[in-house]
């Protein structure tokens, strides 16, 4: 083992042709020594702007503003731009510009590919060098369970040989017998079928299908039902969501500015499609880490492989970071964190500043992995603007690929954007003139810059769409990664500090974890392909275990390893180590087919046990570690929401095209607005727009994963805000209304109606007691209604969901307007008055008179003399009018129901009570 810690001191030999070396020695090195080393070399002890110029690697790694050279492309190389004095901030050398001839030599040199004989021999003398192998105890490799090879243990002997339905049950029963705990009886077929539907598709079972299944005498009927569920698109959506938790999927950057990622949805759809196509898990992983480096049969496959690498691009980022180097280091750290926790179940990112405290991950290994990602460009696609100093491109997808074009640009939004563009352009013009006249004291130049930037960004968004509002083929792009032109090695950073660089570390996978499976990295590639190959390789002891444990968790309610994202020394040991290995082995045997593994688990007796409480077993094992029963648990947030939509018959089961966030020019502001006003979205929850800063409220309350983190196991909190949401939330009341209206349309008498409402919500018949209490409830509500004390309002909640500017509303729109006012510098004590002005149907007489007077004087709004405050007010009014017109668009109106009658409202209250019941919210 130790040998892997001794890193080779010498890297790839330079292999330069003699004339290349001569060119460098004659024209380049002397200039560097005379004019650059003083501030940018190891010898001078200075690395201004984080840049050193000692070796080619240093040039490629670059400094705070990015790589110093792009071999072959002088114009795009910062070094060349700097010595040309193109930008006043980066004019190098700072005192005197180099002679033109010298500059041309540098350009020529970069064009040649920057041949550089200064190969880092490293292992420099003195304090610079860090002993990379220091102080690490390799014994942990021999002792810790998850670093041992995965075994294929035979199923243990059990006393009750009749009980197990297969190997899984033998492992479970053996432990139960040892502990003297009896397993619960099997749940009945109906319960198991309801459970299967929820576990596999996240949606409640169709009541008619349940009836047919229960009356089917064929013993294979349940297995066939499971196959049916596994083949359903809903299954891919539900299990895709499980992976999206682990992949910390969201459509914005999070952190302080929450910049929108308008193309993240492609990755979301790719994940769901991968589950739908039964993509083997090893391929699934490889594509996310290195899809761009894989061969492909055709343009469509190529496009999809690129989209898969969105996994590495969608993470949390602080786009307002000033230093590119710092931004880059954090971005890579996030990438390392997400794949190591999510796929390997180890926390490699812990080794950024020091050797891992527990696991065999020396700090040098972190920098080996970092080199792989430093040799990779991450293209996340955002526009520059206030709050975003780190814009980036996207990866262009092959034009001939058969892929979605995303959402069309709605006409209302187009005109809103066009107005925004006009306003920004007008502002630029007006402010520029005023600046010239009144000076910087009265006019803030930053406002001009911001307006200009906004105009450019909005224009860029508009340009993506053709006249029909469809995305142009040339604009089909994805978030993802690409190899850098020349791969580099990363510098070891003492204590993880950017200004404490030490020797270079050859890029590679975590050496101690890899052991003898350490792959050789292609010197011409980043190494992501080799990393992926090692991760899904036969000798990897973690990947199959980690995934098998996740699959088990989602079906059984508790994982075998209680820390699903941490299989390291500080994580928990598996409760059933042999079972975990058997599942991992089986997964690989099944060619990494997740669905096949799911099927085996669902057809086990252990999965199908009743979840009832048994005092004896509970006393022995209250936490159900032995799996003596099916673990009781609440449905995931998405299932709660989707099940309500399903019960009310409103669920849109098809996939939406793209995402409403696609139209956001950089900042999430417009995206939020668009989401807020786009009205009720009745697609499955996995498709709801997901901004890190403002996650879908309904889901967040029920513990949806926080996309700032890798989330293997969600919280299951039980807080009053959830109860309040179920009792009072407009969405819940709206679904109850819709269900009530349908019940009243289709069923004849009250008894039948009660039956139907139970079947639709709970998937079962009401008990006689429930029949009685439901009927009693209906009577009570009627009585209260007669006393005029049942209903506050019979207005449909969907109507109230429609954001109305100016009245009581908790919508995001309201918040956004407030924030905009604050940012526009309207003092709080004036904002009420301003709001009223903005929202009033007619302008107050005083203002109207002022406008009339100005018009009579021939002073138009474009005129210099037009009062600034009045202009701002009118601008804001028009902005709001744009929003109102959006929200009252025909498409939106059609979804809004009218007021209800008292009878329907009473039925709605009954339906809502069922939605709010434990029966609905808990897995059967």
């Amino acid at each position: 083992m130790i040998s892997f810690l001794l890193l080779p001191a010498i890297f790839e030999s330079s292999d330069l042709r003699p004339e290349e070396t001569e060119f460098f020695e004659t024209h380049i090195r002397p200039v560097l020594v005379d004019h650059c080393y003083g501030c940018h070399s190891k010898d001078s002890g200075k690395s201004r702007g984080g840049l050193r110029l000692d070796t080619k690697i240093d040039l490629l790694a670059g400094g705070a503003t990015g790589p110093a050279i792009l071999p072959g492309d002088p114009d795009a190389s910062l070094l060349i731009q700097a010595i040309r004095w193109e930008d006043e901030d980066y004019s190098m050398p700072p005192r005197r510009k180099l002679p033109e001839a010298t500059i041309r030599y540098f350009e020529e040199w970069v064009r040649m590919g920057a041949p550089d004989p200064r190969v880092p021999t490293d292992v420099a003398a003195g304090e610079e060098h860090v002993d990379l192998s220091r102080g690490f105890d390799p014994k942990v490799l021999e002792h810790h369970w998850s670093f041992q090879p995965i075994t294929d243990p035979p199923p243990p002997h059990v006393q009750d040989e009749m009980w197990p339905a297969g190997a899984i049950d033998q492992f479970i029963l053996a432990e139960l017998e040892t502990a003297g705990v009896a397993p619960n009886p099997d749940a009945d077929l109906r319960t198991r079928a309801r459970r299967a539907s929820l576990d596999l598709t996240g949606l409640p079972a169709n009541p008619e299908r349940l009836d047919a299944l229960v009356s089917d005498q064929n013993p294979s009927a349940f297995g066939e039902y499971v196959d049916e569920l596994l083949a359903a698109p809903a299954h891919a959506e539900h299990w895709g969501r499980h992976w999206l938790d682990v992949a910390r999927y969201a459509e914005s950057s999070g952190r302080e500015n929450d910049v929108a990622y308008g193309n993240a949805w492609r990755y979301r759809d790719w994940v769901i499609d991968a589950f739908d196509q039964d993509m083997p898990f090893d391929e699934f992983i490889t594509k996310q880490l290195a899809g761009d480096l894989l061969p492909s049969q055709n343009a469509t496959e190529r496009a999809n492989n690129i989209v898969a690498t969105g996994y590495l691009a969608i993470g949390v980022k602080g786009h307002n970071t000033r230093s590119r180097r710092e931004f880059q280091a954090d971005l890579i750290d996030e990438q390392i964190d997400v794949f190591s926790q999510g796929i390997l179940g180890v926390t490699v990112a812990c080794a950024r500043c020091h050797d891992h405290k527990y696991d065999p991950i020396p700090q040098a290994d972190y920098y080996a992995v970092k080199g792989i990602f430093e040799s990779t460009d991450t293209l996340y696609g955002t526009m520059a603007g206030p709050g975003n100093r780190m814009p980036a491109d996207l990866v262009l997808l092959p034009a001939s690929a058969e892929i979605s074009g995303g959402a069309d640009l709605p006409p209302a939004l187009r005109s809103f954007l066009e107005r925004s563009l006009e306003r920004s352009e007008a502002n630029v013009e007006r402010l520029t003139e005023r600046l010239a006249v009144e000076g910087r004291e009265r006019v803030n130049p930053a406002q001009i810059r911001n307006n200009r930037q906004n105009a450019e960004n909005v224009q860029a968004v508009l340009d993506r769409y053709d006249d029909q509002g469809q995305l142009r083929a040339s604009e089909r792009k994805a978030m993802g990664v690409e190899d850098r032109r020349v791969p580099i090695h990363s510098r070891f950073l003492a204590r993880g500090e950017l200004d404490e660089p030490r020797q270079l570390v050859k890029r590679g996978v975590p050496s101690m974890l890899a052991g003898s499976a350490l792959p050789k990295i292609d010197p011409d590639q980043s190494g992501r392909l080799e990393l992926a190959g090692w991760i899904v390789g036969e000798e990897n002891t973690l990947t199959a275990r980690v995934w098998a444990n996740r699959v088990w968790l989602h079906l059984m309610g508790r994982p075998l390893v209680e820390t699903p994202d941490n299989f390291g020394v500080s994580g928990m040991a598996p409760s059933h180590p042999d079972l975990l290995d058997a599942l991992a082995t089986r997964l690989v045997e099944l060619d990494w087919n997740t669905d096949a593994l799911i099927r085996e688990i669902v057809l086990s007796r252990a999965w199908g046990l009743s979840n009832h409480h048994q005092p004896n077993a509970y006393a022995e094992d209250p936490e159900n570690i032995l799996y003596w029963r099916s673990t009781p648990r609440r449905l995931p947030a998405e299932s709660i929401r989707d099940s309500m939509l399903m019960a009310s018959g409103e669920l849109i089961t098809s996939r939406p095209e793209g995402s409403p966030l696609s139209f956001a020019p950089g900042s999430a502001r417009l995206a939020q607005l668009q989401t807020a006003i786009s009205g009720p979205d009745h697609h499955r929850s996995v498709y709801l727009p997901s901004l890190r800063g403002t996650p879908p409220e309904f889901l967040a309350v029920f513990d949806a994963a926080d996309p700032s983190f890798v989330t293997g196991a969600r919280d299951e909190t039980n807080v009053p805000t959830q109860a309040l949401q179920l009792l009072n939330d407009d969405f819940v009341v709206g679904r109850s209304d819709a269900l009530a209206q349908q019940i009243l349309r289709t069923s004849r008498n009250e008894q039948e109606q009660i039956r139907e409402v139970f079947r639709r919500t709970l998937g079962r018949e009401p008990t006689p007691g429930e029949q009685r209490s439901s009927a009693a409830f209906m009577r009570d509500v009627s009585r209260l209604h007669d006393q005029d004390s049942a209903f506050e309002s019979l207005q449909s909640t969907d109507q109230r969901q429609r954001p109305r500017v100016g009245r009581r509303s908790s919508s995001q729109l309201e918040e956004l307007i407030d924030r905009s006012m604050r940012e526009a510098g309207i003092p709080p004590e004036q904002s009420d008055r301003v709001r009223e002005l903005l929202e009033a149907d007619e302008l107050p007489k005083m203002i109207q008179r002022q406008l009339d007077r100005l018009r009579r004087q021939g002073i138009s709004r474009e005129d210099q003399r037009f009062p600034d405050r009045l202009r701002r007010l009118l601008d804001a009014r028009e902005g709001l009018a744009g929003l109102s017109s959006l929200s009252s668009s025909a498409e939106f109106r059609s979804q809004v129901a009218g007021p209800l009658d008292a009878r329907t409202a009473a039925w709605s209250a009954l339906a809502q009570a069922l939605f709010a019941s434990a029966d609905f919210l808990y897995r059967p």
């Binding site: 008990t767 709080p828 904002s831």
Partner: protein, 465 residues
């Protein structure tokens, strides 16, 4: 075997301690059934009051957060030298700007306070002004997040969440950590990796929207727009009977359903109790005057301060009250005057009101923004961001009064004495709450985390005991 294994040290948080806490601290039957999910420690309610590490001087915190960074040299950090050198060359080719506001000494302590705070100044002997504050980054969003969570880089739990995690709550009808008009970024009141019940409950009230008697939803879903309370009670009875049946079906024991049954009752009660806490309509005129509720300039913040006092009284552990608009790059004279006018009387009222109710003794009131401002002028009438030195103050909760702790250089540019980084400030606040910042830890992603990371020193000099 808890997934998020809780690492409050065993001397603080043994099961026995907590059971004792439950039986003594809470007369209310049924609170122990308020099982708030799987974050429970050995089946004990995670929000139950807990024993502290050492004797606490403060039981709760009211944090008046001034979003946008108020100028220290114009408010609480008196800089005669800056005034003398007014107009002389400063940094970055800017001229020094002496404070346009007069300072005077107040109280027996003679604490200097600017004329912007005539009412707060009357409480000078209660204030401990921290003049040696400094933070890492002179940008609002990052500095705000650092002030609330300690980190500018990572998503970490906020100070309020740590406090609630360490101490539990004292009111079964209200959330334990309330954030009134906090900064928009939810990280500032989020629980990050701490279990979700430690998250701040955000309420937007008392802001501009309330001012013309308009109703406002302080918290979503706090009231049914459809059913009257009596009809909703009928509905809830039906829900609960279904839940009871489900519980029986499950064999009589089911943590989730039991928790649900109690949380429905709490939620139903909160519909009435929370608006009551928020609603100030029934306060006597003397209280309305104290907080300036009837003045246009002070009513917004006054209402929030009053709500904070009511929540403090009701046992809410950590209350943040946000007030923005301090980013005075220009129009310093006018804007700062307006800003201070809006909060001066409400804050003074809050201190008076807390004191007269005997609450100031064990309520720590904190005032401050995410950083300070430069002694150099921006334009002729503005100041830029300054993270190297600024002022905050504390009052009550065991802090010494009438004291200025720490100092900036003569121009107010940089903290040079009694320097207090955000980590130190966090350590000190936790200390007053009876929590040792080095021992209040939580395990996440393979290691123990603290509010103060690996930093933080308690400023013992400002503590009364």
């Amino acid at each position: 075997m808890d997934l998020c294994s809780n690492r409050i040290e065993s001397d603080l948080c043994t099961r026995r301690d907590m059971l004792r806490g439950l039986s003594c601290g809470f007369g209310m039957l049924g609170f122990s059934q308020l099982a708030l999910g799987q974050g429970m420690l050995d089946g004990v309610n995670p929000l139950a009051p807990r024993a502290t590490h050492h004797a606490a001087t403060a039981k709760r915190v009211i944090f008046l957060f001034m979003e946008g960074a108020p100028s220290h040299v114009d408010t609480f950090d008196y800089k005669p030298e800056l005034n003398r050198r007014d107009g002389q060359q400063g940094n970055r080719n800017r001229r020094l700007l002496g404070s346009p506001f007069q300072f005077a000494q107040h109280g027996q302590s003679g604490l200097p306070v600017s004329e912007l705070f005539p009412n707060v100044a009357r409480h000078a002997d209660r204030l401990c002004v921290l003049n040696g504050m400094h933070t890492d980054i002179p940008a609002h969003a990052q500095a705000q997040v650092q002030m609330h969570t300690g980190s500018t880089q990572f998503v970490r739990p906020s100070m309020g969440s740590w406090s609630l995690y360490g101490l539990g709550t004292e009111n079964e009808n209200l959330p334990g950590f309330v954030a009134l008009n906090p900064p928009r970024n939810a990280q500032n009141y989020g629980s990050a990796f701490l279990p979700a019940h430690y998250q701040g409950t955000r309420m937007d009230l008392g802001g501009r929207r309330l001012r013309q008697g308009r109703e406002v939803e302080a918290m979503p879903n706090l009231d049914s727009s459809r059913l009257t309370r009596s009809a909703q009670r009928e509905q809830l009875n039906l829900v609960q009977s279904l839940n009871q049946a489900a519980l029986r079906d499950a064999g009589g024991t089911h943590e989730g359903i039991e928790g649900m049954i109690s949380s429905y009752e709490l939620a139903f009660r909160m519909q009435d109790t929370l608006p009551e806490v928020i609603d100030v309509a029934n306060e006597p005129q003397s209280i309305r005057d104290l907080y300036g509720l009837d003045e246009d300039s002070t009513s917004a913040f006054g209402r929030q301060c009053l709500a904070a006092r009511r929540m403090a009284e009701a046992g809410v552990r950590f209350i943040e009250v946000g007030f923005g608009g301090w980013d005075t790059h220009r129009n310093l004279r006018e804007e700062l005057t307006n800003q201070c006018t809006a909060i001066d009387r409400p804050i003074a009222g809050l201190l008076t009101d807390l004191a007269q109710r005997g609450l100031l003794e064990d309520t720590l009131v904190i005032w401050g923004g995410e950083f300070g401002r430069t002694p150099d002028a921006q334009g002729t009438d503005g100041r830029d961001h300054n993270n190297k030195g600024f002022s905050m103050w504390m009052a009550g909760g065991g802090v010494k009064g009438g004291m200025a702790y720490g100092a900036t250089d003569p121009l107010g540019r940089e903290a040079i004495e009694g320097r207090m980084h955000i980590h130190d400030w966090h350590a000190t606040v936790l200390h007053m709450l009876g929590l040792n910042h080095e021992r209040l830890t939580y395990q996440h992603a393979g290691r123990d985390f603290r509010l103060t990371d690996v930093h933080g020193e308690v400023a013992k000099e400002i503590l009364r005991s």
